[in-house]
């Protein structure tokens, strides 16, 4: 894909985005450069899609935003991350959560040996008081009625789709202004993916901005307002979602073959990386 694409005018259109990355550079273990000057904006009440193949650096972008890089021996070496105009590049993860950011991590990462409700309460750890926690739980069960009957069940025994819902509900517990989702459609049946897609739209309609990382570009672009395409740690395309969906290169590489059928599905080749136990 040609990388000569100039920064688009859509960015300049929003003078005060909720989240903004400027020229972000991220290095792991002091030597592995994985983000090479990424800039992107998420406006208030927007859904923004971040697309890219395996290893493009999507998860690294999210880690940089949420303060999880240090856990992976990574760090921001250049550029800015601002939330509502304030820099959060040096903030630690808990304080970023308290400022209204929440994420659904890649691979769901629910607490399997906790019950559904305990998962949600863990997600509400940042809630200021009991009332906020109670409201959060109430809202979660309203949004995911199928979890109501399962609140006392161990989350590890739920189906993949239900686990993804627990992961989303858990993230919403802190009443975030911005929700980051890392490949929520991964490994799920098309019917469930459609459900998740509708949920994201609903969550957004209720006032939460969304940054949606996906390899399922068709799904992401169908609900996003704007989108970015990441390749080898650089944004190579960005613009309104409809424009991206119509773009020849995007069609060829992310929506499959340009002809519209036989679309390549990265989802199928991707396997969950076994999560590492952080032993220290």
């Amino acid at each position: 894909m040609p990388s000569s694409h100039a920064a688009s005018a859509s960015r300049a259109a929003d003078p005060a985005p909720l989240l903004s990355l400027r020229n972000l550079e991220v290095v792991y273990s002091d030597v592995i450069l994985v983000l090479r000057g990424v800039s992107l904006d998420v406006g208030r009440d927007r859904i923004v899609a971040l697309l890219g193949a395996n290893g493009a650096g999507k998860t690294s972008v999210l880690r940089a935003i949420t303060g999880l890089l240090p856990l992976h021996r990574g760090r921001i070496t250049k550029g800015q991350v601002t939330l509502d105009g304030t820099s959060i590049a040096d903030a630690d993860a808990p304080s970023i959560v308290r400022r209204g950011l929440a994420q659904v991590m890649e691979g769901r990462r629910i607490f399997t040996d906790l019950t559904v409700e305990e998962n949600l309460r863990a997600g509400g750890f940042a809630c200021r008081n009991r009332a906020a926690l109670a409201t959060g739980l109430e809202r979660a069960y309203a949004l995911f009625p199928q979890l109501t009957d399962r609140r006392k069940q161990l989350a590890g025994y739920l189906s993949g789709g239900e686990q993804q819902m627990v992961a989303i509900a858990r993230a919403l517990m802190s009443s975030p202004r911005l929700l980051l989702l890392d490949e929520p459609s991964l490994g799920l049946a098309p019917k469930i993916v459609a459900q998740i897609r509708d949920l994201i739209v609903r969550i957004n309609a209720e006032g939460t901005a969304v940054l949606l990382v996906e390899q399922n570009a068709a799904m992401a672009l169908s609900i996003a307002h704007t989108g970015y395409v990441l390749e080898h740690g650089k944004v190579v395309r960005d613009g309104p979602a409809a424009e991206l969906a119509a773009d020849k290169d995007v069609q060829e590489f992310y929506l499959g073959g340009g002809t519209g059928n036989g679309r390549r599905n990265y989802r199928d080749v991707k396997t969950y990386r076994r999560r590492k136990r952080w032993s220290a």
Partner: protein, 298 residues
């Protein structure tokens, strides 16, 4: 028969103290992955601390114990902050060795302040006995069972029902996912050490209660509780309790019945017996009685 009841109560009493010692191990193991050999040191220090407050400073025993627990929670926090936090990211093996180092430091601290002689913790029970259903049992045994039972219940309630307890379990299960939801691993580690310190104090007080008293040798109890911990499965609090009770009963009943019946086993065979039971059970259940086999959907 009445002898049996007496031994049973003594066994449960010893076992419930072992449970508390194991719980201290488990809480740190689950949060940090470290097998904390310093737990025995905390038990001794907790008992000496109670001696200091109740006997030396003359504070009423019922106030001295909670106060000692509080101070020992602080000691736990301090250890985490000063000794273990700088080591985060180092191999777990190094941390385990460090806990052994901490044992020696704690021993020296105790020797410096309280010397090498046996001292009392100032409990009001002494050698008093009470008639329970026709059997004379030690009052201190009954108090031990009651108080450790209460401590265990409080421990489980904390982990089961409070947001803090749930956060601790979440942090133990997946530290990164927990952090992503605002649960800081440092806070979890600190809290775990604080709980280990407080729990060790209760264990130490009741090990030293009655005429037994406390000296540096009390720390060896951590090694006596070791089979209980392995039995329970390193990461299971329920297992710690079950393993502790089992080992306590085995130890007391062996001393009461098996050793007199088979003197050829040696007078101290009751100390060995827990290890025999441990090995026997591990052959059948390698994960221990309650060790986790990860919950995952096929």
């Amino acid at each position: 028969m009445s002898d049996f009841v007496r031994f049973l109560i003594a066994g449960i009493s010893l076992g419930s103290v072992y449970s508390l010692v194991c719980l201290g191990f488990v809480v740190i193991y689950r949060a940090t992955g470290v097998v904390n050999f310093a737990q025995g040191g905390l038990v001794v220090l907790g008992a000496f601390m109670t001696h200091q407050l109740a006997v030396v400073n003359g504070i009423p025993f019922a106030v001295a114990v909670p106060l000692a627990m509080l101070i020992m929670a602080g000691v736990g926090l301090l250890l985490e902050r000063v000794v273990f936090r700088p080591m985060v990211g180092q191999p777990v093996f190094a941390m385990i060795l460090l806990t052994l180092g901490v044992v020696f430091v704690l021993e020296q601290v105790c020797a410096f302040f309280w010397g090498y002689d046996v001292v009392l913790v100032g409990d009001p029970w002494g050698v008093a006995t009470v008639d329970l259903l026709g059997t004379m049992v030690n009052v201190s045994d009954l108090w031990t069972i009651g108080a450790t039972g209460a401590a265990l219940a409080a421990f489980f309630a904390l982990f089961r029902f409070t947001t803090l307890g749930i956060a601790m379990r979440a942090g133990a299960a997946d530290p990164e996912a927990a952090l992503a939801h605002g649960i800081s691993p440092q806070a979890i580690h600190g809290l775990s050490w604080a709980i280990a310190g407080a729990v060790a104090t209760v264990a130490g007080v009741f090990l030293a209660a009655g005429p037994k008293g406390v000296d540096l040798g009390l720390g060896l109890v951590a090694f006596r509780a070791f089979p209980a911990m392995i039995l329970g499965g390193l990461d299971s609090a329920e297992g710690a309790v079950a393993g502790g009770l089992l080992i306590g009963l085995v130890e007391v009943l062996t001393a009461a019945y098996l050793v007199p019946a088979m003197p050829s086993l040696g007078a101290n065979f009751h100390v060995v017996m827990p290890y025999v039971v441990m090995i026997g059970i591990l052959v059948v259940r390698p994960h221990g009685l309650f060790g986790t086999i990860e919950v995952r959907r096929a």
